[in-house]
Symmetry: D2
Subunit: 408 residues, 4 copies
């Protein structure tokens, strides 16, 4: 046992083998009391048996908190409103669960009088950064214990973890381990590692849990209508629902039509490339609906600048910089125009395809007479002559100037 | 007839009603000789009868130039290499045909001793800008006649054009006019106007010419393997082909699987919103294959900066600023790393879906041992501790500093 | 006289020869009543005789409005807070006076029941754009009469304007005309045209009105202390003052020490290069003081992103896009962190030099123990090892990967 | 003595107390041979006695390499051409010396068969990152020993270093230590730490070595004429000189007129704020001259995009990412237009002021007739009407659309 300043630590607990082993390891290594904390983010796992498991593994206290509303309203939707997509493909869900879990963990630490925080993320991934940056931002006074990077940690693989569990009477999983790792919440499931590591390999067909293979999806398309108010979805198919209900319903609808998969080789913050496969059916539908309305209601300058901000916003979220002044500033920027992202979008889902059928907004800047070939007296075709003459003037000046340039 | 300085003008001629009428109108209004020039960009229309038509309409000379190779190599592929997509959806093909046509038109003007250039684009669209900016950049000394914005032009609609044609013995189309306008080249077909103007309407099913409706596509997926060398496709399914052949083949393959449609409300340069529907099957496949390789071979910093440049690059192309120093500078930037975009990508096409099955490159920066959960001695998990402490230091400093901030 | 829909127009009136002539020209050409409107932006010219002049020139009504407070608080200071500087040199004052004048002009039009707006800016500059974009944004229903671009306008130069004035009994200036044009408000004076057009020429020594030549400034440096609160200056040398008073005082102090000149060849919106010389003593001091505080209180990520926004913000302002959604969004971004730009900056002014002597803020993120060479337990030197290993990992991977790359 | 894999290490040696002590410490701790390597970057210190000192401290070999030409041509000038300035104030000289020293150090390691590299930078600064990233990029196979972060290092301050030196017979400095640390090369001197740490303090008057206090500079201004060719200076006052000679001469000229100081609180890469004071007289003059030519010869779009790249370029250099693909890509971008940055700039230097008196280039895009108030037939004033109507159309559409928006 190390000579430790920590008497009580709150562990982000998933109920899996790793975090169960970590409970015991913390007690044995740091001699501290362990509070197990589980966040309900709609991950669809059985949360019920967790308390028993945690206690059997040695936890002195156990808390589970339903964070689904907060997750959807304060994390998932703002990122969707910012149209943030990491490296053009990844909708960022694991990235945004971590800061919320860490924040709730800090709350539990305050409530239980703990002096430190712990998590089970490994030393090569992004999640450790996301947890710990949040700890630093929200609780700079609390200690941090990170088993996977701890010099006293010597469990190298699943076999050793199973052995350790057996030796300490920790309940072990009875199912066969999957040949990849997985993270699930209601906004997405991510898969990485194992057989996915070789980017020359396709993911196995049976890996996906929320989306059917497009080839197995129904032969008939399904239409869904999303109504948004101020950038957030408020109705599906005409029925008013909470954000959580909307996400759950759209996961079902889009999932059964095979919509919402992504597969990329991405750049991790810690300086390495990694292959990730994602399914996020509801998110995919909501991003598309939101964007379709943005096309109608945002003026070009805002729209184009938002595309630049979206890239940086996605980097911030991916890199764990959720609780940062820059993200606050971006939200302030984004929110100035979100109040007009109100309207209805009709979408067709069919065997992996998502097609916008229709979009309408009372705040539309689209003027049919202007964009089409009719006439409108606020714009004369002849105006284009002057416009082109000004707009093209630098090109003409350059072309003329070049004639007098020295030969070089 | 106006008192005109122009004796001979080269008209960008499509063979349609509008440009046929314009030939005669130019002769009658400006008293000039008209050289009709048609570009072969693989638009798939009958180019053979054009000469006869042009002459029948009054043209003194007629030229058709096969620009397909140049279009693919010097316009389409560089834009694909830059990953430029306008407003995240439009692959830009009309935008990049215009400067090439205009450039070839200038060449014809030089060859035929013409003193001016003319085109049939209207005064509300982007194409006029793309034509005329190229004229200004490449031939600042040549005059420009733009019928649609000309004070002497009084043909307001199709009926008047038909009348004018009948009156002047110009051959008129015998088919029924389509309820939208269309532009075609081998990189895409664009549709706009007419019944598409209302963004609440879906395009009619029979509008699309190169892609089948996903619902009508084969029930069996089709795999296609693209090999790229230095950012350009060189083989399809193992067979070496020219760029033109590759684009034509991929149009067929992706088209029959319903892949490559886009539908958006976009911001035109001239300050108005417009609804555009596009089909670009080959381009869609090539962008995806190129991107998949970029994920393997580009380091994060270059990759992320390219995403910013891609937005501006797309704006430049969309706005007709092809022949500009900034586009040259962007190409120089992009090309520094394209030499490593070499490798093979296997893609599955199925009823509108495009799925990357596999990607391989000899220049890959992906190291399986690093990204996964194995060990590699160039990176220790423990390094993450120091990384996180540095990376999170500003957050911690802010959190600590805040404790001493004045209450405000 | 043209057949005009306009019965009453409000003219932005400066009292100079041009706008005096325009009053009469409007009456004679458009047969409309002319309301002369002059804005007091602290331009230091005699505003008193304007009413008499305007009426003598034919104006039916005359209004002068003191806009100094609004100009400073709502235009000058927000742009300074955004650290917007056009092309790294120009502090933008004319650019931000125009939208305010135009806005006030619209107010007068509403009040007097006018149906149109007019200004005296020429057809080659930026000011016409700044006026008219504001008209369009705030009063799309009002007409616009722009004499300098009007087909009926045939006054080509000063001589013709003098003749026109003499003929119509318009009071003419008795002083000799300056060999350049000038625009003055309390935030700056700009000079352009005439002898300044050749960028190979220096401006004449006696041109500058608010700053002495550094060579003629006092031999003793002068210190000035600026106190800022939430990004705005509130005290100078310990004395609380209004924004207007601060700007006036700093113009005097910095001006007598030769601080605040700029001289550049800039890119106008209308597509041409132009040479501008500016003096903005107070603005120069306030930008520097604000920036010095930003260095203390902004975290790196916000600070660096603001530098990008500052470029675009400056373009917006320069280009007349004041009343646009994008500028609103930028302000929202900027203002999220301005509340902490509070503190005191001591500055030395000496013969054209501005030197920061000291900066202090209660919101400082600068921690002396961290930045220096002392010790602080939130950061261990050893952390840098892990940081560098992660941060440099992509470089190492690239170096290692290259060894296996094909020779090409 | 640790059990070390290293037999021979190359140390970046300055001749100061720290690196002298490090030679002995490396021998004693790692049991390895030490090659001392000193780079001549025009730092103006005595390089002659270094060999003797190094050997007396225990080095088995000593190398000094004159890197001045390479430093100026391949490091300083490219960064100047990119107009890269860190946080708007710092001209980056220390940042760009480090990668060159590290590169030369690698060359010496290859030549002498060393197996490792070492430097004397501390664990809180940027320089360690700049050294080590270069090591990783150029010599991933060589080991790295970093005394200041080494667990075996226990020298905490100057007193302990003096003791250690005395004990081991290492020559110690006889002069009094300065109350700040300093880094010098021909592009600048940087000062930080010690009495400079408090940002409320001004630097002491006698600290500056190359620039006189403006108050002590001559009462007469001095003019200097810079001729540039393709972005690089080639003549001063009409006399052709090498890059190194130009920098040395301009250091003298600008330095004696008090030009070239900067003082800021900057954001270090390692996550902390730090106060730096810099003097870089030649660099200041060359940046200003280069920029003055850019104003004439770069078109607006390139010019404005370069301003964005300049920010990121400066970050890269500051952060030690010299040998990275992104910097290569930026150089490719920049260099596309540098060939036209040719011309002559006349500058007045006076007591800290730098004033552009004149700029001329054969590649100028400035057309006097266009920018001024004369006439030129490639631009009609009336064109502005159409331009403004198009350019302002989105504002008008928004203003009109708003009238129909729902009240919210």
């Amino acid at each position: 046992m190390v000579d430790s300043p920590f008497k009580k630590t709150v562990l982000a607990y998933s109920g899996g083998l790793d975090t169960s082993v970590i409970i015991r390891w913390l007690i044995d290594t740091y001699g501290c009391e362990v509070v197990a904390f589980a966040a309900d983010l709609g991950q669809g796992e059985e949360l019920d048996p967790l308390e028993e498991k945690a206690k059997a593994s040695g936890a002195s206290e156990f808390y589970v908190v339903d964070l689904r509303n907060e997750f959807v309203s304060d994390f998932a939707f703002p990122v969707m409103r910012a149209e943030a997509i990491y490296e053009r493909k990844y909708l960022l869900a694991t990235s945004l669960a971590r800061p919320l879990i860490a924040k709730a963990q800090v709350d539990i630490a305050r409530k239980t009088g703990a002096d430190s925080l712990s998590h089970g993320a490994t030393g090569k991934g992004n999640d450790q950064v996301r947890f710990e940056l949040t700890y630093k931002a929200l609780a700079p006074d609390l200690g941090r214990i990170v088993p996977w990077r701890d010099p006293n940690w010597d469990i190298k693989d699943r076999e050793q973890a199973m052995e350790y569990a057996a030796k300490h009477g920790i309940p072990v999983p009875t199912t066969v381990s999957k040949p990849y790792s997985m993270d699930r919440n209601m906004w997405h499931i991510s898969y990485e590692g194992g057989i996915l590591e070789d980017p020359a390999n396709s993911p196995p067909k049976d890996m996906f849990l929320t989306t059917v293979d497009p080839e197995d999806a129904p032969d008939k398309p399904e239409e869904v209508e999303i109504e948004m108010h101020a950038g957030n979805p408020v109705k599906v198919n005409g029925k008013e629902m909470s954000g959580v209900e909307i996400v759950e319903l759209l996961n079902t609808i889009a999932g059964r039509n095979g919509v919402g998969r992504a597969d990329l080789v991405e750049n991790r913050l810690v300086g390495i490339k990694s292959r990730g496969v994602y399914e996020s059916p509801a998110a995919t539908v909501l991003y598309a609906a939101h964007r379709a309305l943005c096309e109608l209601v945002l003026d070009r300058e805002v729209h184009h600048y938002r595309l630049l901000i979206a890239e940086k916003y996605a980097e911030l979220v991916y890199n764990g910089q959720w609780y940062t002044p820059l993200r606050d500033s971006f939200d302030a920027f984004i929110n100035t125009t979100e109040n007009r992202v109100t309207g209805t979008v009709k979408i067709k889902l069919y065997k992996g395809n998502l097609t916008i059928l229709s979009r309408k907004s009372p705040y539309s800047l689209y003027m049919q007479d202007l964009g089409g070939f009719g006439e409108a007296d606020i714009y004369e075709q002849g105006d284009a002559t002057g416009f082109i003459n000004c707009y093209g003037l630098p090109l003409m000046v350059e072309a003329l100037a070049k004639k007098n340039w020295p030969k070089s």
